[in-house]
């Protein structure tokens, strides 16, 4: 007796259909084997399935059971085949029909209940694409799958319940998608809490508006970390499409909690500088998304930028340019999106007090040079906004008390950012990009016409400030965003002049 149960395998963000073929032989010694390149977790599924069936008060057949996961040459991993294997065996033993056009997916617990399993969103997307009408998933993972409409998502609590449904004894109502109740952005700091640092705040506003990467250099205690952590508060909410992109990554890597919903807030990832290259870019023999992909459509904050190993930082170059990263391994090749705002911060020298007016820097010229060289030119060249964050003189600030009280809050800035983003959305509606920072040279030609006057200013600046060709285009992009913030369709001298404030300071001679 043979039955074919449909399930899926996720490889990166791609999903392929898997046929779980279960054969319960009428002859031969009792056995239970799984073939078709199962990983350890899949092979162990034998014991889970067996025990779960027994604990569901059904007798496990003393027959020769062979399970084949087809196509046989694709490596299978994870615990999601427990449910299709178990239900395949049960349907043969109990002689019940399984619903048609259905996918089964989920991990079994030894007592026969189903556990939260990662990747149900990808499963639902696959079902929709391949015209499966029903999917059966663990109850805890059902809400995540129900994000996708047009597919019946059956939340299954335990094996017995599913069996009763298949034999027609009970009905299960498909899950309806429920939004999470708390939808407020929880932010550590409000911009209004950061004293002084007007230029840095302005740079953050531009960064949030156009999706530009930025780099802050300043002494310890100047407020770099605080500024970066205030950034999520001024970012616009994720658009529906973006939200789905982010949720897919989180689903694939098992980061959606039980009863999870769409990811609505932009991710903010702040890995420590001891992170490995794989940790940052993703990888492993079964390629997992790294921090850059987890920060997709959000912020990747690298504090103490110069302390990161050079090889780790260099790995950022290509994804920063392409907005995605392909990880190739001998057995598979996966592509994770990685379109993030890189927020970096560093001290000006190893001891940190180089420009500090009150404290002596104890570094030698050589130490400072070596410290700076840890971040390569090409990386700095890919950062649009460079800001120096000086130490705030509290005494000086207190003299300006009255203006301190009406500091702009994150909420106000967020509104301006939203407007600028809407303009960009409109501009790029026929393109595949979303923000000014993503513009390639052809986009710049098309959308950023410079008047002769502005062009001349820029060319003069390139010469005088020794800017690279890449910086030339960065400046135009930043100027475009500044113009957007002012709702101006044209880039004027003023916009360009302000953009020049955020140029990289390679050497001040």
């Amino acid at each position: 007796m043979l039955i074919k149960v449909c399930s899926v395998a996720n490889s990166g963000l791609k999903t392929i259909g898997i046929d779980v073929e279960v054969n319960v032989a009428s002859r031969g010694l009792p056995a239970f084997e799984i073939v078709g390149l199962p990983s350890k977790a899949v092979a162990e599924s034998k014991e889970r399935v067996k025990t779960a069936i027994v604990n569901s008060e059904i007798e496990f057949p003393q027959r020769r059971i062979i399970v084949n996961l087809a196509p046989a040459d694709v490596p299978k991993e994870g615990s999601c085949y427990d449910l299709p294997i178990a239900i395949g065996i049960l349907s043969l033993v109990m002689g019940c029909e399984l619903p048609e056009k259905s996918l089964f997916y989920g991990e079994l617990s030894l007592d026969g209940t189903l556990r939260h399993t990662k990747g149900t969103l990808l499963l639902a997307l696959f079902a929709k694409e391949k015209k499966f009408t029903n999917i059966f998933v663990p109850k805890a993972s059902a809400n995540e799958a129900a994000i996708i409409k047009d597919v019946n998502v059956y939340p299954i609590e335990n094996l017995k319940q599913l069996l009763d449904y298949c034999t027609g004894q009970i009905e299960i109502t498909p899950a309806e998608y429920r939004e999470s109740e708390e939808d407020t952005v929880s932010v550590e700091f409000d911009m209004a809490e950061v004293l002084g640092q007007e230029q840095a705040k302005r740079a953050l506003e531009i960064s949030a508006s156009g999706g530009h990467n930025f780099f802050m250099v300043g002494s310890p205690g100047a407020g770099k970390t605080m500024l970066a952590r205030a950034l999520p508060g001024i970012l616009p909410p994720l658009a529906e499409k973006e939200s789905l992109e982010v949720t897919k990554i989180y689903s694939a890597s098992g980061r959606i909690p039980p009863e999870g919903t769409l990811v609505k807030t932009r991710p903010f990832r702040a890995p420590h500088h001891t992170i490995s290259q794989i940790g940052l870019t993703g990888g492993g023999s079964k390629p997992q998304p790294g921090e850059i992909s987890l920060a997709h459509r959000g912020v990747l904050f690298l504090d103490e930028f110069n302390e990161f190993p050079r090889s780790v930082l260099e790995a950022l170059r290509q994804p920063m340019e392409d907005g995605s990263l392909s990880i190739s391994r001998s057995r598979e090749r996966v592509k994770y999106p990685a379109r993030f705002i890189l927020a970096a911060s560093a001290n000006p020298c190893p001891c940190g007090y180089l420009y500090d007016p009150k404290r002596m820097c104890s570094c030698t010229q050589r130490e400072i040079e070596r410290y700076r060289k840890r971040v390569s030119g090409p990386i700095l060249d890919r950062i649009d906004l460079h800001v120096e964050v000086p130490v705030v003189d509290v005494e000086h600030l207190s003299r300006f008390e009255p203006t301190q009280k009406n500091l702009t809050s994150s909420g106000q800035i967020r509104k301006r950012v939203k407007k600028a983003r809407d303009l960009q959305q409109n501009r790029f509606k026929e393109e595949t990009i979303h923000t000014n920072s993503e513009m390639k040279n052809r986009h710049i030609k098309k959308y950023c016409r410079l008047s002769a006057e502005v062009k001349q200013l820029l060319i003069q600046a390139v010469k005088q400030f020794h800017l690279s060709a890449r910086s030339y285009f960065k400046m135009i992009k930043v100027a475009r965003t500044i113009a957007d913030l002012e709702n101006s369709s044209e880039i004027t001298i003023n916009h360009m002049a302000e953009a020049l404030q955020y140029r990289p300071r390679v050497k001040t001679e």
Partner: protein
């Protein structure tokens, strides 16, 4: 290209011969011209100079060197290098005294400056031959040559234990004139210079203070009013603020009561026009004579 002059040679600098322990031999690079030693001013200071130090060195030295006075210094980074550069920029001559063998460029990253000094009728001199490496004890030895060659020594910036103070000490020991640039009392880099003033060093507030000592005359000083022509209100108030002290853009924005976004664009334009300069996160006026000549 390397040459050597013995103390018995008529071309050996006269002033240097007068010090208690003049070097027996002087190795040199460049063309030896006895004229270069006629009016020498030693300019020394901290390696880890502040923007103020750099600005003052540039301001004073370019005017002094332009008046035909040779600038002698120790080729270290910081004030030394700034002094050499300022002298070259204004078309003056400069002598670098090395603490190491004549064939060593130390510090190596200043090779460009090294060659520039030679190409512009300057001199590289040392009492050590070939590739003798610099050592802790060669620096103070070198300082006696710097002070010994010069009629006067100008200390721009010095910390409490700066090596420049050794040169200052030697200057007084050789009974030459010592000048010191006043600085902020709170600045660690001015502790040494302020102490020198307290001990009787001449206070320098403009290049003419030094030029007067040499009996030389400076080129016409910059006409301030020239600056103000054709400047808009914001530019004028920015200059007014920066005249007092250099400041960060955030502080400046509060001082001139203008949002940073607007101030930033103005500063970019002023920088391109060459009115202001920027470094170490601060803006300062760029009022060196060469800018407006």
């Amino acid at each position: 290209m390397t040459g050597v002059i013995k103390i018995t040679n008529r071309k050996y600098p006269r002033l240097l011969k007068k010090i208690p322990d003049p070097p027996e031999k002087l190795y040199y690079k460049g063309s030896w011209d006895a004229d270069i030693f006629k009016d020498c001013l030693a300019v020394v200071g901290a390696r880890r100079m502040t923007r103020y130090g750099e600005q003052i060195t540039d301001l004073l030295v370019s005017e002094i060197a332009a008046a035909g006075i040779t600038i002698v210094s120790g080729f270290m980074y910081g004030i030394d290098a700034s002094a050499h550069k300022a002298a070259l920029k204004s078309g003056g001559r400069t002598i670098a005294c090395m603490p190491c063998g004549i064939d060593v460029v130390h510090p190596a990253h200043q090779e460009e400056l090294y060659n520039e000094i030679i190409e512009n009728n300057g001199l590289i001199i040392s009492e050590y031959e070939n590739d003798f490496p610099p050592a802790l004890w060669t620096y103070p030895k070198r300082n006696r040559i710097v002070a010994g060659l010069s009629k006067a020594t100008l200390v721009v910036e010095a910390g409490e234990k700066s090596g420049s103070l050794i040169t200052a000490d030697l200057t007084r020991k050789f009974e030459r004139k010592l000048f010191s640039v006043p600085g902020q009392l709170t600045s660690a880099m001015s502790k040494g210079t302020v102490n020198l003033i307290k001990e009787g060093a001449g206070i320098v507030t403009s290049a003419s203070d030094i030029l007067a000592y040499y009996g030389a005359e400076g080129i016409n000083k910059l006409e301030k009013n020239f600056l103000w022509d054709g400047l808009n209100n914001l530019e004028q108030s920015i200059i007014k603020e920066l005249e007092r002290e250099s400041m960060e853009i955030d502080v400046l924005s509060r001082a001139v009561k203008t949002p940073v976004a607007v101030l930033g664009r103005e500063l970019s334009l002023m920088q391109l026009k060459g009115l202001v300069k920027e470094g170490a996160g601060k803006y300062y006026l760029k009022v060196t004579k060469t800018q407006f000549a």
